[in-house]
């Protein structure tokens, strides 16, 4: 068997794949956080809960309406995004004028509320969600076995990342968005409906979380606590990457996912905390974050 640094190649590649999958989720989630933070200047603590909600929407659609994975892949982000829009309109928009820590506290309460509700009905254990038949099975690459669904997750989340980057950096809507980030008052004076833009941005960020949730559902089980487990890691990712750039959020997500996978092979005991250790090191060496612009 081929060995690298005394580690079987198969195990290394297997864990790197797991790392890449986790990294994909981190990337899309931190991307959503960065999109929301860019315009609204708030940190969406409920992001993990909305990710969990996306997975549950998929699960409930299948359990009660018989709607399968592919329609759910569209419907779950829509439902979560709509919920986000309602929340922003009715409650979150009242907090913009205050210290941003208040919106952090508000979304934290929201996260507890959503998670608590689902835990009340489903307990802490996970509900299985089957891989769609069209993606069942796997491909033998010669050096390793690649499950088709996992390959799909990597491709789909990468496509979403690129799509979001394109939307923000290369379209008219994106240019409004970036302009409103710089100077909302001026953009409003030019006749752009900034409050609507804020609602759309929050809803879009939430939809990204919902999308990640349904994407993750067949890999992890659908469980009420899946959101709070991941959100703290994603926060660390965001601290490492800095929320200054869309690209930074995506790249850091993938990097830390891979680092986590690598640690699982080399020193498994530390795999839970490696992301936090990296965060601490980055804070020591480059306090503004790898891609951060602010002082």
């Amino acid at each position: 068997m081929t060995m690298i640094f005394g580690i079987p190649l198969q195990a290394l590649l297997g864990q790197l794949l797991v790392g890449l999958i986790n990294g994909s989720f981190y990337a899309v989630l931190s991307l959503g956080l960065a999109v929301i933070f860019g315009l609204l200047r708030i940190i969406n603590f409920a992001h993990g809960a909305l990710y969990m909600l996306g997975a549950f929407v998929g699960y409930l659609l299948l359990a009660f309406a018989g709607i399968g994975y592919w329609p759910a892949l569209i419907l779950a982000p829509l439902v979560v995004g709509l919920l986000g829009a309602v929340l922003e309109r009715t409650m979150l928009s009242r907090l913009y004028k205050l210290d941003h820590l208040y919106s952090l506290l508000f979304t934290f309460g929201l996260a507890l509320f959503i998670e608590g509700t689902f835990r009340y009905f489903y307990g802490s254990s996970g509900q299985p969600y089957a891989v769609p038949p069209s993606l069942a099975g796997g491909t033998n690459l010669g050096f390793m076995f690649l499950p088709n669904y996992r390959a799909w997750v990597v491709v789909a989340s990468f496509a979403v990342c690129i799509g979001t980057w394109f939307l923000i950096e290369r379209t008219k809507l994106g240019s409004y968005l970036r302009a409103a980030t710089e100077n909302p008052t001026l953009v409003q004076a030019f006749g752009v409906n900034v409050p609507l833009l804020l609602t759309f941005t929050y809803a879009f960020g939430c939809a990204l979380a919902g999308f990640t949730g349904i994407l993750a559902a067949p890999i992890y089980q659908v469980s009420p606590v899946m959101g709070s487990n991941i959100i703290i890691i994603v926060f660390a990712v965001v601290v490492v990457g800095g929320m200054g750039s869309i690209f930074g959020a995506i790249a850091t997500g993938y990097l830390l996912g891979l680092a986590e996978g690598l640690t699982k092979v080399i020193y498994p005991e530390a795999s839970n905390i490696v992301v936090f250790v990296i965060m601490a090191v980055v804070l020591l060496l480059r306090p503004a974050g790898l891609f951060g612009k602010e002082a």
């Binding site: 708030i42 940190i43 409650m91 009242r94 907090l95 004028k97 205050l98 210290d99 941003h100 820590l101 208040y102 919106s103 952090l104 506290l105 508000f106 934290f108 309460g109 929201l110 996260a111 507890l112 509320f113 959503i114 998670e115 608590g116 509700t117 835990r119 009340y120 709070s228 703290i232 890691i233 926060f235 660390a236 965001v238 601290v239 005991e269 839970n272 905390i273 992301v275 936090f276 250790v277 965060m279 601490a280 804070l283 020591l284 306090p287």
Partner: protein, 325 residues
């Protein structure tokens, strides 16, 4: 009127009110001394413990303007060390508490040193991430007993004389610790050092331009807050005679934020009132089928949307309005 700062400016007490305040403090202490005659002592001790924890947290959020999402690390970490010291090393309670507080100071210095490198929302996220790291450490470290925690911690004899196994002795010990902690916070807040902390809260850039080494002040405030949170955690380990993972989870950090928010950020009594309310609410809900997390979350949202000054804060504002009329 828009509030931009996390807390409202506090009206400094006029000198003429001093005797009245002293009277109020005496009545309060007398009520606490008599409380175990009327309520279940363990329950009152739990409230005192969390009241001290929330007050320590408020020292940081209310008076320095730093939102820590990781205070459970100091509370739970100190609880573990105290439990371990009392059970395995056979320390007397006073030394076990000292060991717990020292560990909280060390953890606080490390987390604080890293966290103060960023501001605002980032600060909150860093403290959360580092305390989660500490949680994983406690989950895997051999001395914490993993999921079981440390059970059957002996309360021991205070200074080798007073048997804390007696509930009433334990109660007055806890009350003493509580009063000591609150007094320390009051002294810190009303000292020149406290005035500098408030100036950092109000305008950090200005404080820097005045020549203050803001980072050193922030770190000192952070470590003091961690130490007092650790004192509360150590006491809790002795009261309930166990230390478990619950005390180091992020939910615990959230709980202490809720207590402070509900009672009133930046008020001396607010966290005490908030802790009393939250602990009572949890006790009531524990016997019902209703999910505590849902209520906690809803209360959080409600407090932030409609009730930012908290109970004591609203009360003080009402008195203020009444005086101005």
């Amino acid at each position: 009127m828009t509030e931009t700062s996390l807390s409202h400016p506090i009206v400094e007490p006029a000198t003429g009110r001093a005797p009245l305040q002293l009277l109020a403090v005496c009545i309060g202490i007398a009520a606490l001394v008599a409380a175990p005659m009327f309520f279940y002592p363990i329950f009152v001790m739990k409230i005192l413990c969390f009241a001290l924890f929330a007050s320590a947290f408020n020292l940081l959020l209310g008076y320095t303007g730093l939102l820590s999402f990781g205070h459970a690390a100091f509370f739970g970490g100190a609880a573990y060390v105290t439990a371990h010291a009392a059970k395995v090393w056979g320390f007397p309670p006073e030394l076990a508490v000292v060991a717990g507080v020292s560990s909280a100071i060390v953890i606080g210095a490390v987390i604080g040193f890293l966290a103060i490198r960023r501001q605002g929302i980032y600060f909150a996220m860093i403290t959360l991430a580092l305390s989660q790291m500490f949680y994983f450490f406690c989950l895997q470290a051999p001395f914490t007993g993993g999921e079981d925690g440390i059970q059957g911690v002996p309360r021991g004899k205070l200074f080798g004389l007073i048997d804390l196994g007696q509930t009433m002795n334990m109660y007055y010990f806890v009350l003493g610790v509580f009063l000591l902690g609150i007094f320390a916070i009051w002294r810190i807040v009303n000292s020149p050092f406290g005035a500098i902390l408030k100036s950092i809260r109000e305008n950090e850039t200005r404080a820097i331009s005045l020549g203050l080494s803001v980072n050193a002040y922030k770190l000192s405030a952070f470590v003091m807050s961690a130490a007092i949170a650790g004192l509360a955690g150590s006491t809790k380990a002795l009261i309930f005679q166990f230390a478990t993972l619950t005390d180091v989870t992020w939910q615990m950090s959230g709980e202490v934020i809720l207590m402070t928010l509900m009672g009133g950020i930046g008020t001396l009594l607010g966290p005490v009132v908030g802790a009393g309310l939250v602990v009572t609410l949890q006790n009531v809900l524990a016997t019902s089928e209703f999910p505590v997390t849902v209520i906690t979350g809803a209360t959080f949202m409600l407090c932030v949307l409609a009730f930012r000054r908290g109970i004591v804060g609203e009360f003080e504002a009402a008195i203020d309005r009444w005086k101005r009329r």
